[in-house]
C-alpha cells in the first residue's frame, strides 16, 4: 500500500470526528438533521446549538489539536528529542498561571484578555525552560528536567495563589484543566489567524525541518544556516502551542503522541508527516472532546484531563525506550 494513502485516510478520520462532534452532546442530533441544519439554519434550539455552541467548539478543538500536534513535531525535530512536547516545556503551566492571575486579581477582566494573557504566560515559560536546556546542549533528560523545574516553579506560584485566594481561584479550576466547552465564535476568531498562519508557515518550513533533523553538523555541511533556522522553527513551535493553550488551557500529551503516530505512519520526511500530524492532532482532540462530553453528560469533564490520562502511559513507555539508549 502506498504510504501516502494515510493522508486522505487522516482527512477521513478528521471529517468523521468533526461530524460526531456536531451530532453528539448533552442532547444528540441525528446526522441527517445536522446536514440539513448546517445548510439551512432555522433558528430552532437544535439549529442554535449547532451554530452557536458545537461548531465553534469543534473548530477550536480542531485548530488547537492541529497546533499542538504540529508544534510537538517541530520541537521534536529541531531538538532531535522524542520527548520534546509543548507541555514538557512548561507552556501549559505558564498559560495556566496567567489565567489564574487574571481570574483572581482581575475578576472584572473582559473575556478577550484570557487568550493574550495565556499566550504570553505560555511563551515565557517555554522560553525559560528551552533556553536553560539549550545553553548546555539539549538532551532528552535535560529538557525534561528543565521543563519539570519550570513547571514546578510556575506551579508553586499557581498554588500560592490558589491557597491565598482559595475561593476566587475555585472558579478557575475548571478552566485550568483544559477544556473546549463553551468556546465562542469570538474565540475562534481570536486564535484562527495565528494558528492558520502558523500552520501554513510550518508547512513551508518542512524542507528546512528535514535538513535540521539530520543533526547540526550535517545540516551545516549541507549549507543550512542552522542557528537561524532552528530558532525560527522553535519559535514557531512555541507560538503554535501557546496559541492553542491560550484557548483550550493545558491539554498535555497531544503534542507528544500525535507526532509519534504521524512519524510511525509516514516516516521521517516532514513534508509528509507534518500535514498528517495536523490532521491527526485535530481529529484526536475533537474525538477526546466528544468523549469528554459524553462520559458524564450533561456534566462536562475537562478534555485535558482525559487526554492526559490517555497520554501519560504512552509517555512512560517512551521514557523507557529512550532511557535504554
Amino acid at each position: 500500500m502506498n504510504r501516502l494513502a494515510f493522508l486522505p485516510l487522516g482527512l477521513g478520520v478528521l471529517v468523521a470526528a468533526f461530524l460526531a462532534s456536531l451530532a453528539l452532546g448533552a442532547s444528540d442530533i441525528p446526522l441527517r438533521r445536522v446536514a440539513t441544519l448546517l445548510l439551512h439554519p432555522d433558528g430552532s434550539t437544535e439549529s442554535l446549538i449547532l451554530e452557536t455552541l458545537r461548531l465553534p467548539r469543534t473548530l477550536v478543538a480542531a485548530l488547537a489539536g492541529a497546533g499542538l500536534g504540529v508544534s510537538g513535531l517541530m520541537l521534536q525535530a529541531v531538538t532531535r528529542n522524542p520527548l520534546a512536547d509543548p507541555g514538557i516545556l512548561g507552556v501549559e503551566a505558564g498559560g495556566a498561571l496567567a489565567i489564574l492571575v487574571l481570574v483572581v486579581f482581575f475578576p472584572a477582566a473582559p473575556a478577550g484578555w484570557f487568550i493574550p494573557a495565556a499566550f504570553l504566560g505560555g511563551t515565557l515559560a517555554a522560553l525559560v525552560a528551552y533556553s536553560v536546556a539549550r545553553s548546555v546542549g539539549i538532551t532528552p533528560l535535560r529538557l525534561a528536567l528543565a521543563g519539570v523545574a519550570v513547571a514546578s516553579l510556575v506551579g508553586a506560584a499557581s498554588r500560592t495563589i490558589q491557597l491565598l485566594w482559595e475561593e476566587r481561584a475555585q472558579g478557575a479550576l475548571f478552566a485550568l484543566s483544559g477544556s473546549v466547552a463553551g468556546r465562542t465564535w469570538a474565540q475562534v476568531g481570536q486564535i484562527a489567524p495565528w494558528l492558520l498562519a502558523g500552520l501554513l508557515a510550518a508547512l513551508l518550513l518542512t524542507p528546512r525541518l528535514n535538513v535540521l533533523a539530520l543533526g547540526e553538523d550535517v545540516a551545516r555541511g549541507l549549507g543550512a544556516r542552522t542557528e537561524r533556522d532552528s530558532l525560527l522553527i522553535t519559535g514557531l513551535g512555541v507560538l503554535l502551542a501557546a496559541a492553542s493553550v491560550s484557548v483550550v488551557g493545558p491539554v498535555g500529551f497531544v503534542g507528544l503522541i500525535v507526532p509519534h503516530a504521524a512519524r510511525a505512519l509516514l516516516g521521517p520526511d516532514h513534508r509528509r508527516s507534518l500535514p498528517l500530524c495536523a490532521l491527526l492532532g485535530a481529529a484526536f482532540l475533537i474525538a477526546a472532546d466528544v468523549a469528554a462530553r459524553l462520559i458524564d453528560r450533561p456534566a462536562e469533564t475537562p478534555v485535558g484531563i482525559l487526554v492526559a490520562a490517555a497520554g501519560a502511559p504512552f509517555f512512560v513507555l517512551l521514557a523507557r525506550r529512550i532511557g535504554r539508549r
Binding site: G25, A26, S27, I49, V103, E167, G171, P298
Partner: protein, 307 residues
C-alpha cells in the same frame, strides 16, 4: 409543697453540678458549666451564636485565603468580634490568646487541626460545610445546650419550622420543577436534591429537577447542558461583585430557548447570603427571600430577584 420545691431545687443543683454533656462528630463534650467564651470557626456557628444572643470572643472572620468574609446579612452584626485567622487557616495562637472555654469547628475543614484545637479548649466539631439542613438544625440545638441556652435554641427551631410551614402554604401545587445553580465568572454548578440549597428549596414546597448524579450532589454544566436540562424554573445564586458567566450566555440566542427564560421564571439570589451563612438567621432570611421573590408561587420574580 415546701418539700417539692426542695426536691426540685436539689435536682437543679445536681444537674448544675453534673454539668452538661453534648454529643458531636468527634465524640462527646462534658462541660461543668455552660460555655461563656466561645470561638466560632464557621459562619454557621457564628450565625447561631448571634441568634442565641451570645457574643463570641473570637471567630474565623479573617480574609486570608481569599475568604469573601462574613455574608452581607451577618457582617454588620459581627463587626466587633475579633478575628482569629480565617476559616481555612485558623490562627491557633490567636485562638489560644482569646482564652476560650469552647471552640466550634467544622468536622471536615478542621479535621486535621482538631487535636490542637481540643488541647486549647473543649472543642465541638459539627458538619457545617457539608451539612444538610437537618445537620444544621441539630447543631443549633447542640450549640444552644453548650452555651446554656437550650430553650432559646428550641424556640429558634420552632419559629423556623413555623416559618417554613407558612412558606409552604405559598407553594403552588403542581408547579414545574426547578434547577438551582451557583454561578461564578467561569462556571455554572447545578445543585441537586441532596445539596444544601437544593434540599432547602424542596423543603419549602418546590420540586428540584435534578437527582444526585453518581454521588455528586453538585456538578458543573455548560450552556448546552443547561439547554438540554431545559428547566421550567431557574434559580441562580450569584455574587453582586462578580460578572457571572450567565451574562455571556445571555448574548447567545440559545438562552432565549430555555423554558424558564421564556416563562420569565429566572430568579436570582445573593450567593453569599444563601450558601455561606447556613444558620438560623440565614435560614430566616432565605425563607423570607424565597417568599418575596415569588418563587414559591411560580410567579414572575420580584424586582430585587430578577436576573
Amino acid at each position: 409543697m415546701h418539700k417539692n420545691i426542695l426536691v426540685l431545687s436539689a435536682f437543679t443543683l445536681l444537674s448544675v453540678a453534673a454539668g452538661l454533656t453534648v454529643g458531636h462528630e468527634r465524640g462527646t463534650l462534658d462541660l461543668k458549666t455552660p460555655a461563656r467564651r466561645v470561638v466560632a470557626l464557621e459562619y454557621s456557628f457564628l450565625d447561631t451564636l448571634v441568634a442565641l444572643g451570645v457574643k463570641p470572643v473570637g471567630a474565623a472572620l479573617g480574609l486570608q485565603g481569599g475568604d469573601r468574609g462574613a455574608p452581607p446579612y451577618l457582617a454588620p452584626r459581627v463587626k466587633a468580634i475579633p478575628a482569629t485567622g480565617s476559616r481555612a487557616q485558623p490562627s491557633l495562637e490567636l485562638i489560644a490568646a482569646s482564652r476560650p472555654d469552647l471552640i466550634l469547628a467544622d468536622a471536615f475543614v478542621h479535621q486535621d487541626t482538631y487535636p490542637q484545637l481540643a488541647r486549647i479548649a473543649p472543642t465541638a466539631a459539627f458538619q457545617s460545610r457539608r451539612g444538610s439542613l437537618d445537620d444544621l438544625n441539630a447543631q443549633t440545638l447542640a450549640i444552644g445546650q453548650l452555651v446554656g441556652r437550650e430553650a432559646a435554641a428550641k424556640r429558634l427551631l420552632a419559629d423556623q419550622r413555623a416559618l417554613i410551614n407558612k412558606a409552604r402554604a405559598f407553594a403552588k401545587k403542581g408547579a414545574p420543577s426547578f434547577v438551582a445553580a451557583v454561578v461564578t465568572p467561569r462556571s455554572l454548578t447545578v445543585h441537586t436534591r441532596e445539596s444544601f440549597v437544593g434540599s432547602f428549596l424542596e423543603d419549602l414546597g418546590r420540586k428540584n429537577q435534578l437527582p444526585v448524579k453518581d454521588g455528586q450532589t453538585q456538578y458543573e454544566v455548560a450552556l448546552e447542558g443547561l439547554v438540554a436540562l431545559n428547566p421550567q424554573t431557574l434559580v441562580l445564586f450569584t455574587a453582586p461583585d462578580e460578572t457571572p458567566i450567565t451574562d455571556a450566555w445571555k448574548k447567545n440566542p440559545l438562552w432565549q430557548k430555555i423554558a424558564a427564560v421564556q416563562r420569565g421564571r429566572v430568579y436570582q439570589f445573593n450567593r453569599d447570603n444563601w450558601t455561606r451563612g447556613r444558620g438560623p438567621l440565614a435560614l430566616r432570611l432565605m425563607v423570607a427571600e424565597t417568599i418575596q421573590s415569588r418563587l414559591l408561587q411560580d410567579a414572575a420574580p420580584g424586582a430585587d430577584f430578577r436576573d
